[in-house]
Every structure is written in C-alpha cells, then in structure tokens.
C-alpha cells in the first residue's frame, strides 16, 4: 500500500508535509458533517500512510468539488486534489465503480440536468 500512497501523492501533486495543521480546510468544507474523515485528516493520513482507511471511507464520495478547501488553504496544500486522488485509487480498481449506468434510470427525474449525470459519472466511475 505504501507504493499506492506515493502514487496518490504524485497524481494529486499534493505535498502533505506543507500542511501546518491550521484546520482551515475542514472549517471551510460545506460537506464536513457528511464526511467520516475531514479534509485536514486526508492530508494527515496520507502523510502517515493510512491510505486504506481513506479508501474505505464514504467521505470520498461526499466531497462536493467546490474547491473551498483548496482556495482557502494558506499553505497551498490543496486537500481537494488529495481527496480526488484517493477516490481515483478506489474507482480505478476492477469492479469498484461507485455509480453504474444501470442505476441511472432509477435516479432520473423530469428536471435533472445532464450535467448532474455527466459529473457523477466522471467522479464515481472509470
């Protein structure tokens, strides 16, 4: 798993060691209450090689991609990129897509914009 941690760091471009643990990312996160691990914990846990716990967390599907943590980080650590890289480490596994095309008809309603489906596929499956 340690190699996978290196890959997550590389594809995200995030250096967790830049973090000064101010917690502003989690304070800014609108999905804070929905996440089991919060943005600042992603940074700390990747740094400490606890990738498997993050890969099993539901928080990786709750990140809104709103970029508040990334914009407001005073050290430009940019946790959003790390959260996405952890999610990719999961959905790039065989049979680990979080959203499948056959689920879509059941999720549709008359007003749902295409953007909602397109973006969900991009975030939740490979």
């Amino acid at each position: 798993m340690s190699d996978m941690t290196e890959i997550v760091k590389r594809i995200s471009g995030v250096n967790p060691r830049k973090c000064m643990k101010c917690g502003k990312c989690s304070a800014a996160c609108p999905a804070y209450d929905e996440m089991d691990y919060h943005p600042h914990q992603f940074v700390d846990m990747v740094e400490n090689g606890r990738l498997e716990e993050l890969m099993d967390s539901k928080g990786i599907y709750m990140c809104l991609s709103c970029f508040a943590c990334l914009e407001r980080c005073p050290r430009s650590v940019e946790p959003a990129k790390l959260i996405e890289a952890v999610r990719l480490a999961v959905v790039r596994q065989q049979d680990k897509n979080h959203l499948k095309p056959e689920q879509i008809p059941g999720l549709l309603d008359a007003e749902l914009p295409q953007q909602a489906i397109t973006s969900a596929f991009r975030k939740y499956r490979k």
Binding site: R10, I11, S12, G13, P30, A31, E34, Y61, M62, L64, S65, C66, F67, A68, L70, E71, A80, K81, E84, A85, L88, L99, L107, D109, E111, L112, P113, Q114, Q115, A116, I117, T118, S119, A120, R122, K123, Y124
Partner: protein
C-alpha cells in the same frame, strides 16, 4: 464582433433558457456567438489528477477549434467554463499534460493554451462594459431586489479562473445594477449549493440549497440568479421553492426587451 461559443450538453436540453436568452441578448448587443462545430461534452467536472489525459481531450478539441478560427472562446455554463478554462491552463503551463495530449491528438499545429477563454459575464464586463450595457437597457428592472448566486465553479481556484475576487466578488452585483435592479449581497453567495451530490445524497444537497436560499431571503433578496444549470436544479427543485431562481441571461433578456417580462 463574433466569438466562438461552447454551449455544452445541458444548454441544449434542460438548460435551454440559459442558452437561448444568452444568444438573443448578445445579438441585441451587437455580438454574435458562433457555436463551435462538432463540439463534445466537457465532462462537467475538471479532472484534477495529473495523469488524467483522456478526460481533458474534449476541452482541448474545443480550444483548438476556436484557435483555428482565430477567435476567443466564450462559455456560458459555469461548469463548462470551469473545465475548459482549467484545461487551457494545463495546456499552457503543465508540460506533462501538454505533451501527452498533443501526442495523442497529433494536430497539424500542437496546442499550448493559445485560446483566450471568456465567460459570458466577462464579455459583458471586459469587452462590452457594464456602462455600455446600461445604455442598452430598454426596460430597467427598477425596484427588484436580486441576489447573485456565484456558487463555486466560476470563482475557484481563483489563481486559474481569474474571474473575480473569490471571497468578495462584484461582477454579478455590477451586472444586476447595470440592469437597473438592486443587488442583494449575502454571505452564502459564494458557498457551494451541494448540487454535485444530488444523485448521491439528495437530502444533503437539499439542506445546502436551503441554507443558500434562506440566507439570501433573510438579507432581503426576492429572487436569485445563477449561471449554472446544476445550481439552478438544486436551488429550484431541491430548495423547496423558497425563492424564484432564474438564469442571469433571462434577466438580461428582460432588461434588453428581447424577452417578455414574466408576470
């Protein structure tokens, strides 16, 4: 003046009002938005990982297509703008992404981020000017209290989007003022509405939408405008009808007299 124009998937379907009134208003202002031929969906989310290349190619194709026509590229949907603008930054600044995308596409002239990407609101502010827009208003929206909802994608990350001050934006308020209405500033205008999770966790998306609308209403807004079809859906369908939500282009078309005002 003619610009290349990327409408995107939703503006052809559920978000037609954003597109139709956007084009009609620009025509009234003497600007033509010429749709790119054979454009492909941008994917609606910017792929942040550095090894994601294929998911960025549709944006590169749109950027190349505008470059080859010698035009700036105008976007209208917040998500399309976000994705295409950031892919353009990658092509200009990230050698690894640029090399791999060009290696795949094998263009006659490789692409390196030459196209200027403008959001529709930036065209109004920077190319036409809000003072000139004000002169063109035929039916000022006097007495209307309107809250601008920026959301996330137009503002962040500000070092790439360079759209406005990410924490204290003014472009949409200036737009509202140019149309003769009164802008209502409220704290949640640049916080996320939660729309991306509407398929994953609808109650949460609804809760976030409610926070935005309640905050706007408490600050005195009687209506809200947005540039994002997903925000529109979430605020309108999941927001419990707290406030009317419109695309900013509908408001513009009303003020320019190209759209009948709704009763």
């Amino acid at each position: 003046m003619t610009y290349s124009y990327f409408p995107g998937c939703t503006l052809k379907t559920k978000g037609k009002d954003l597109d139709i009134w956007g084009r009609a208003s620009m025509e009234a202002l003497g600007v033509t938005l010429e749709e790119l031929p054979q454009w492909q969906c941008c994917g609606a989310v910017y792929p942040q990982a550095k090894d994601e290349i294929a998911t960025k190619l549709s944006s590169v194709r749109a950027l190349v297509s505008a470059r080859d026509q010698g035009r700036d590229l105008v976007t209208l949907c917040s998500a399309c703008h976000h994705v295409i603008k950031r892919v353009n930054c990658d092509m200009a600044q990230d050698e690894y992404i640029r090399t791999r995308a060009n290696n795949y596409l094998q263009l006659e002239t490789p692409y390196a981020g030459e196209t200027k990407v403008l959001h529709y609101l930036e065209v109004l502010r920077d190319e036409i000017g809000f003072d000139k827009l004000k002169e063109q208003v035929k039916r000022p929206l006097a007495g209307r209290k309107i809250g601008a909802y920026y959301g996330c994608l137009l503002l962040r990350p500000s070092k790439e989007l360079k759209f406005d001050d990410p924490e204290n934006p003014t472009i949409m308020e200036d737009f509202i003022r140019a149309l003769g209405a009164e802008p209502v500033v409220y704290a949640m205008r640049n916080e996320c509405c939660g729309g991306y999770t509407t398929l994953e966790n609808k109650p949460y998306a609804a809760k976030q939408a409610g926070k935005v609308l309640d905050n706007a209403a408490n600050c005195g807004a009687a209506e809200i405008i947005t540039a994002c079809p997903l925000c529109m859906y979430n605020l309108k369908e999941n927001g419990g009808g707290r406030l009317p939500v419109k695309y900013f282009t509908e408001l513009l078309a009303e003020a320019l007299g190209v759209k009948e005002a709704e009763a």
